[in-house]
Amino acid sequence: MALTEQRGPSTFDAERIREDFPILKRTSHGNRLVYLDSANTSQKPRSVIDTITEYYERHNANLYRAVYELAEEATAMFEGARTKLASFIGAPDPNGVVFTRGTTESINLIANAWGRRFLSEDDEILFSELEHHSNIVPWQLAAEATGAVMRMVPVEDDGTLDAERIEGMLTGRTKVLAISGQSNVLGTMPEIKRLAASAHAVGAVIVVDGAQLVPHNPVDVADLGIDFLTISGHKMLGPTASGGLYGRLELLEAMSPFLGGGEMIMEVYPDHSTYKAPPHKFEAGTMNIAEEIGLASAIDYLEGLGMENVRAHERELTAYAIEALGSIGATVYGPKDPDQRGGAVSFWYKDIHPHDLAQVLDQEGVCVRPGHHCAQVLMRRLGVPATTRASFYVYNTREDVDALIASLEKAGEFFGA
């Protein structure tokens, strides 16, 4: 008992962390701001905001080719951000990290530059029922272009994905397994390391949607043995339109370019061009320089907290929330064991439509997300048009969960449910 209590405030003080986030000082509709939508986008600490401001006030220039001091500084900061992101996810070589605007762009990059090049008729693209639209639609487009076939692994009744079932569907025809590292709806965390080995055993590559995995867990791509990992910076305290794609270097080298244009080329002739080596082969045009430098600052902040501690804090808060939601009669979807899931908690409360629920909660200063969460395939499986989702991050506290519960009860009274 004493041990459990010790793990709380003494090592991870969310109250103190809140002080670093300027937005949490404002009110919403006159109430304390209770931000429970970090799975959608996270708030930003002062240090990240300051880094972006300082970049524009002191270092702003375009990258690589200019020979003046400002440009050298900007280039060093941008490439420094790449090294930092690579080390944060355990990538053995920074050249395996391509900067993108986030997970959607990253998966589109893979589906186009790898998929259209290496997929052919009757090849299978295996994906799971709980995927975000961004890990389904780009593959559908690639399938349409190549004649490859989409196959879906169903989610189990308890909201988990069964590794054995997935392995049963991996065959010699499977060329890619596209799977979320952590569900944005159910919090489900598939056994990625095991699945990477199983995918490789049939000659398939594994693409891990890391939009929710990377912000909330220690991640080591080398240990997991995965081929691709996508990263959304804005969900991990960084600016919007920051993020990247990790790819195994041999794969990145073999792939076609994605966007063509300046900076990604070696030589351009009227009828053909040659391209730079990865990662620059995939970075056409002026990049999101300030954003990626801001992301590096966010990684500094997270590393200061320790990703093990971030995970432990959210695990504790998720367990508390699931129990509290159950106690007022809400139905929580997905795994109930906090060891098996992340901190995105979707629920249904007293037959009040999620849109109505979220509207009442908003009046109380509580920000949650109603809707299908870009997972219509999963919503059909759950048999609901939408859910309400609360999601947690480093700055959330039990007080936030208590405010959620109190506002839900208020909504129940209001709608007479």
Binding site: H353, Q363, P370, G416
Partner: protein, 149 residues
């Protein structure tokens, strides 16, 4: 803005006791549509005789705004001529776009929905039933209208 300005008593009443929420098995015109924003799906059934809408009903699930709007719509348009119904659809859309003054003479109970205008995200919920009704009216000529799915 207080909640009861958005969720007027009339809205909650239609939400809890929706009027004409039923299927019309022999409907001349039907149409289904969903709101991609929230996944709500609505089917509208219409019977028409000699240019007059004789019966309108709906089924589906959705939030209080979309359900109450559908319920009030069925009461508003039943018994009207096709031209009048099309005018009502246009007027309601105008109110939701903030372009038409929401007076009680024109809109009756529907005036209760004018608070929705301040919540752009919810306007789609309020307009859904009316969009489906319009599609149902336009489906005339196709065999039996578009089937609900």
């Amino acid at each position: 803005m207080a909640l009861d300005e958005l969720y007027k008593e009339v809205i909650l009443d239609h939400y809890k006791n929706p009027r004409n929420k039923r299927e019309i098995p022999d409907a001349v015109l039907t149409c289904s549509k969903n709101n991609p924003l929230c996944g709500d799906e609505l089917t509208v059934f219409v019977n028409e005789k000699d240019g007059t809408i004789t019966d309108v009903a709906f089924v589906g699930q959705g939030c209080s705004i979309s359900q109450s709007s559908a319920s009030m719509m069925t009461e508003t348009v039943a018994g009207k001529s096709r031209d009048e119904v099309e005018a009502s659809i246009g007027a309601f859309r105008g109110m939701m776009a903030g372009e038409v003054e929401a007076d009680e003479d024109t809109f009756g109970e529907l005036v209760a929905l004018k608070g929705v205008v301040k919540y752009p995200v919810r306007v789609k919920c309020a307009v859904l039933a009316w969009d489906v009704l319009q599609d149902a009216l336009e489906s005339e000529g196709e065999a039996g209208g578009s089937a609900p799915h």
